[in-house]
Subunit: 353 residues, 4 copies
C-alpha cells in the first residue's frame, strides 16, 4: 500500500541506499510486450551517479537484473521482479552521522515516526529508490511506445530556459550534461552548477515534461484525474516542492476569455493553456507540466544541528553528493510519467462496453 | 476505484449536477466519533451557491441527509451513506448545449472517452461533486479536531495577499465574502471580481492553506508522502492548475545553504521552508501549501466552438456561473486537507509494534 | 476498503436494517450498457421478504432508486448511486433486545470491536445489506449478458437434490418457492421448512451455482484466482459456512488418475472435476460451486443468553424471521457471482498488449 | 493488484519455478519487530521439497535472502524485499512438454489467456510460489506471536483423523512426516501415500487449522469478514477445492436450536459451531477451519492429451513430484493464516476513536 504505485500497472518497491540491493515488482504488464533490456539499462545510465562532473561522483554500476515475468524476451503477464545490487555502500561515509539529524533531511521525521532509523545514507528515504522507478518506467515506455515523453531541465537557480517548448528540439536534450535542449542556456546552467559546487553549496531547479501523441480519453474522472496522478507522481520524487500543468500558476492570474482554448473543427484547440487535459481526461493536445526541485539538503559546509538526544552539535560537509539534482532527475520525471500513462492507458481499455 | 479517495478513511461518491441527487459513502470512520451535524451543514453552507453577490446566483439549499453509520449521534464504525438532493436542476439552462462542446470544459473529452455524454450542466464533471467532499471533509475534521486547518484566498487575478501567513488572523477569514483575512486586500479582490463579472468574464486566483498542530510522523514514505497526497487531492478540484508547498517554486531558485531549516534543540526548526514535511512525513511545524485555480471556463460572452459533428458554431454566454471560483473553493480545500490528514492519522496507528 | 467489493467494477455499500435507507455506489461500469430497470427490480423481488409462506413475513417493497450514472437508459461511465428506502423499520420488534446479545449473532462481537452497537435488528450486520448486492449484481448481469448464471437450492437440512446439475432444467428454478429445479425434491424441501417453522426452529441448506458460456481466460493468477474470488464473495453472505467448487471436498478423497480432466482436441475436457477453472483461470467449461448455509440464528424459541453487563438472561423468540435462508439467498448467490465475473471480465481486457 | 495479498500488511510476489529466483516485497510491517531469521528459515524448511520420502525428491535449499527493511535485526517500517534463488532448475525435465497441455494443469488456460506461456514447470503457476508466502507468513507470525496457529493433516484420501481438534496434542504435528498429530492415523496416511506413489498416482487430502488466543474484534464487516479473508487465502493455494469453517457443510444440515452457541457469563460460548467468528468478527473462541486439496495433477502414468495445435498426443509420467501435496501444504496454510490475522490485527488499530 505504502510502497506501491499505480492501479492496473502497479510497481511495488523496496530497498535502502546502503543495503544489499534495491528492487521491486512490476505487476500488471500485459503479456506480449517485447522487452528491450538495453533500452532499460540506458535509462538507468541516464540516472546513474558519476555520469558527469556536475553530479555526485559516487560510482554505482546500477545494473538491473530481471528475475521473472519475461520469457524469451517477451512479457508473459506474470509479475516482473527485479533487483539492482548496491555495490558502493560506503557506510563509513555516514557513520559519523549515526545519531545526528541532518537539516532538511528526513532523519528526524523517520526517527520520530518509527522509533528506529536506518541511518546509513538516509536508508529508505534515499533518492537511490528512484532507480527502481526508472526501471519500471523504462518498461512502461515500451508498453506505450506510440506515445512520446520528453523531459528537460528548464531552470537552474535563476537561469531559466524561457523559450516555450514548441521552439525546442528535444533531440538535443542528451547533447549536454545538464539536459537542457538549448545549448546556450545549457552552458550557463553548467557554469552555475560548477560554481555552486565550488562553494560547497547546492542549487534548485525545474524540469519541464512534454507528452506528445497521447490519445484522447486517457485519465479517469473525479479522484484519478490525469493531472492529479501526474502531480502525485512528481511530488513523490525527492526534493520536489511544486507541480503545475498547462497554464499553471500563471493561469491563476488570467481571465476566462483569455484562458479558454477555442476548438478547431477537428477537435484540436487553437491554444493549449489547458495543458492537454480537460476534466482530468486527455484531449489529444500535448500534455505538459513543470516540476520544482529544491536545492539538495546535503551541502559541503558545516551546519549547526542536533542529535537524537536534542544536544546541539555540528554536522560536517562530507561525502559525495549532487550540487544540483535536476540533471539526474530528468529520466526520473520521464519514468514516472510513463508509469502513469501506461496505467491509465490500460484502465481505459475497460471504460466502454 | 475511480470515484474513491483515501486508504483507511475512504470516500466514494456519485452524482451529476442535474440528476436526482449527489452523495457518497464514507468508509473507515472509527466508531465513537460524536457527530456535530450542524457543523457539517455549516461547511456546506460555506460552499453553497448564492451565498453572496460575487458567486453564482443559483439557489441550492444543499441539505445533507445522512442515511447510515451514525446512531444516537455517534459513529458506529459502519459505513456512512449520505445524499444531497438536487433541487434546482434547471436542465433547460443547458438544453441549448446538447451537442455543443464548451471551450475548456470536459464535454469533448468525456464524449470521446465514453462515447456518450450527460450534457446537463457538465454531468459528472460538474463542480457540484465537491459538495460531497465538503460533507466528508467536515466529518473528518471532527475526527481530528486536535488539528487546525485554515484556508484562505491569497490572490485573485493579479491582486495578491503578500503578507506571510504568520502575520494573518485566521479568525477574520469568514469576515468577508471573498474569504481573505486581510480586509484591505479583500476589498480589492471583491471589487475585481465584481468588475470581471460585469464584463461577463471570469478570473483565476490562488488559495493558501495552513495546517497547525499536526503531530510529528504523519505521512507515509515513497508513494504516499504527505505532500504528494495533499497535492493529488488539490489537483482533483475542478479548475486547479498547480500546487506547491513550503518554499514551492521559489525554492527551485534557492541555494541549499539558504533553504535548509536549522533545528532548535526541541526538534522545531528556525525556518520552515520545508513546509512542515520532510521525506513525506510531518515534522511538527506548520504545513502550508498554495493552490492555483484557473478562471472558470463558462463566461457570459459568446465564443466560437464546435459541436459533436465537428461543425463550427457559437456558444452563447447564458446560465448562472461563478465569476471567480476561489471564494467557494476555500472550504473545499479545507475539506480535502482534512480527509488526507484523517486518513494518514489513522494509518499511522499501524506503523509501530 | 471495508465496505467495498471488486477491483475494476467496485461496489461500495452502506445501510442498516432499521435506518433510513440502504444503498451504495457502483463504480467502474463501462459506458454504453443499456439498463433494464425492470430486470433489476425483478431480481430484488426474488430476494424480497414476504414473497412466500416459507420466508419471513416482513413486508418491504424493496424499491431501488437510481440516483446517477444512467442517462436516458444508458450507463455513462460515471459512478452509479442508488438507495433502497427502509419502509418497515419496526424497531420496536427489537427494543427488548437493546442490551442483550443474541446467541450466534454478531451482537457481542460488534459491541466488543466498536464499543458501540446499533442494536436495531442487527444494524449493519443485518442480511438486509444483501439487497444492495442484488441491485449491483443485477446490473452486472446486464453487462455480461452473454454469460448465464443459475443458482438453485440443492439441499435443505438432510434433503438433498442428488441429481447432478447436468440433468436439471434451470428454467424450472422459479417454478416453486424453494427454488429447487426438481419438483419432487422441492416439495419435500418445502414441507421440511414448514415443519421446522412450526417448531419455531430454523434449518440450514446449500445452494449450487452453475455458470455457462464463460469465455476461456477469466480469472487472475496467484491472489485473484477466479475460484478464490468466488469463494470470498460467497463467504461474505450472512450464514455461509463453506464453499467448494468442482469436485470440492469429494476431490480430496480421489486419486490423480481419477480426478484429471482429459482434453478433447477442441480444448474442452471429457470430465469437469476442475469445475471449469485451472490455475485460477476459466477453461471454457462450466464453472460450478456449492455454498453451505447454517440455520438462521434467530429462532422462535426462548434461549438463555447474557446481556452487555454479563448478566444471564433469556431471549424470547419474537419477530418475523426466515425459517430457512436458502430460498431467498439464491438471487444473492447469483448477484455476487455476476459481480465477480463482470469485474474479472473487465480486468481481462487489460491482460494482453 | 493481481500478485498482492493483504490490506495494511501487503505481500507482493514474483517468480517462476524455473526462473532465476522467486521473491517478493512485504509492505506494512510495523517498525520495531525483532526478526528471528532462523525461525523464518525453519518454516521454509517445513515446506521444502525433499524433506522426506513421501514428498517430491527435488532438492532445493530454499534459502531466503532479505534485502531491505530490517536493520540490526529489527524491522524499520520500510518495505521488506526478499528473494529465494532457484538452484535446481532442471528445465530439461520439462522440455518435452513445450507445446503440450498437461491435464488439469493451468497450461491451457494460461496459454489462452496470455497468448504466451512459460512452459518450464508451470512457470508462474507452479506451487513454488508458495515458498514466498511461507517467508511472509513466518514474519507475520512474529508480529502476532501472542496468537497461536496450528495446522495439521486431517485426511489423506479416505483416511480421516476423526478426533475433534480439542483432543489432539499439536506439539506432535511435527513428529511425523505427514504432519498428523495422531500417530496411529499418521502411520496409515504415510502407508497410503507410499502405496499411491508406487502406483505412479497421487492422492488428495484435507488440512485443518486451529487459531487460539485470537482477541475479540478481529475481522471487518461486510466484504472483509475474517472467514471470507481466510477462505480466499486458502482457495489461493494450488490444488485447493474447498473451504469450511466452524460447523461448515455439516452445519447446513442442522437446526438453529442445535447450532446456536449459547453464551457463558464471561462472553465465551458453551459450544463453538460458529468457529470463533460471528458476523465476520472474532469472538475470542478458537477459530478453526478445514481445507480440501485435490490430488496433484502430475502423475507418473502416461495420459492422453493435446498440444497447442489441438493435436492429440500422449504425456509421459516423468519428473519429480509430490504423491500428496498435503504434508508440505501444512506450513503454507499456517503462513496464509498468519498473514490474514496480522493484517486484520493491524486494521483493528484504526477502528475506534
Amino acid at each position: 500500500m505504502f510502497n506501491s504505485f499505480g492501479n492496473i500497472l502497479r510497481v511495488t518497491t523496496f530497498g535502502e541506499s546502503h543495503g544489499v540491493a534495491i528492487g521491486g515488482v512490476i505487476d500488471g504488464v500485459p503479456a506480449g510486450v517485447e522487452v528491450d533490456l538495453e533500452a532499460i539499462q540506458n535509462e538507468l545510465n541516464r540516472r546513474r551517479p558519476g555520469q558527469s562532473n556536475i553530479v555526485t561522483q559516487r560510482k554505482e554500476p546500477d545494473q538491473v537484473e530481471f528475475l521473472s515475468g519475461i520469457f524469451e524476451g517477451i512479457t508473459t503477464g506474470a509479475s516482473i521482479g527485479f533487483i539492482i545490487r548496491n555495490t558502493n555502500q560506503k557506510s563509513k561515509d555516514y557513520n559519523h552521522n549515526t545519531n545526528v539529524y541532518r537539516p532538511s533531511h528526513a532523519d528526524y521525521t523517520y526517527d520520530k515516526k518509527y522509533g528506529i532509523r536506518d541511518h546509513r545514507g538516509g536508508g529508505r528515504t534515499s533518492a537511490r529508490e528512484t532507480a527502481n522507478w526508472v526501471v519500471a518506467g523504462a518498461l512502461a515506455k515500451q508498453l506505450i511506445n506510440h506515445i512520446s515523453i520528453n523531459a528537460y531541465t528548464s531552470s537552474v537557480g535563476d537561469i531559466f530556459l524561457v523559450k516555450p517548448y514548441q521552439e525546442l528540439d528535444f533531440s538535443k536534450i542528451e547533447n549536454n550534461i545538464v539536459r537542457c535542449p538549448d545549448e546556450t542556456v545549457a552552458e550557463e546552467m553548467i557554469s552555475k552548477i560548477k560554481e555552486i559546487r565550488k562553494e560547497g553549496d547546492t542549487i534548485g531547479g525545474t524540469i519541464t515534461c512534454v507528452v506528445k501523441n497521447l490519445p484522447v480519453g486517457i485519465g479517469e474522472p473525479i479522484f484519478n484525474k490525469l493531472h492529479a496522478a501526474l502531480g502525485k507522481a512528481m511530488l513523490s520524487i525527492n526534493a520536489v516542492k511544486g507541480f503545475e500543468f498547462g497554464s499553471g500558476f500563471c493561469g491563476a492570474k488570467m481571465k476566462g476569455s483569455e484562458h479558454n482554448d477555442i476548438f478547431n473543427p477537428d477537435g484540436t484547440t487553437k491554444t493549449n493553456l489547458s495543458g492537454g487535459i480537460q476534466g482530468g481526461v486527455s484531449n489529444g493536445m500535448d500534455v505538459y507540466f513543470r516540476v520544482a526541485f529544491k536545492p539538495v539538503a546535503t551541502i559541503m559546509q558545516n551546519q549547526p544541528t542536533i542529535d537524537s538526544a536534542g544536544t546541539s552539535t555540528e554536522i560536517q560537509g562530507k561525502g559525495r553528493h549532487d550540487p544540483c539534482v535536476v540533471p539526474r532527475a530528468v529520466p526520473i520525471v520521464e519514468a514516472l510519467t510513463a508509469l502513469v500513462l501506461a496505467d491509465f492507458w490500460l484502465l481505459n481499455q475497460t471504460r466502454r462496453k
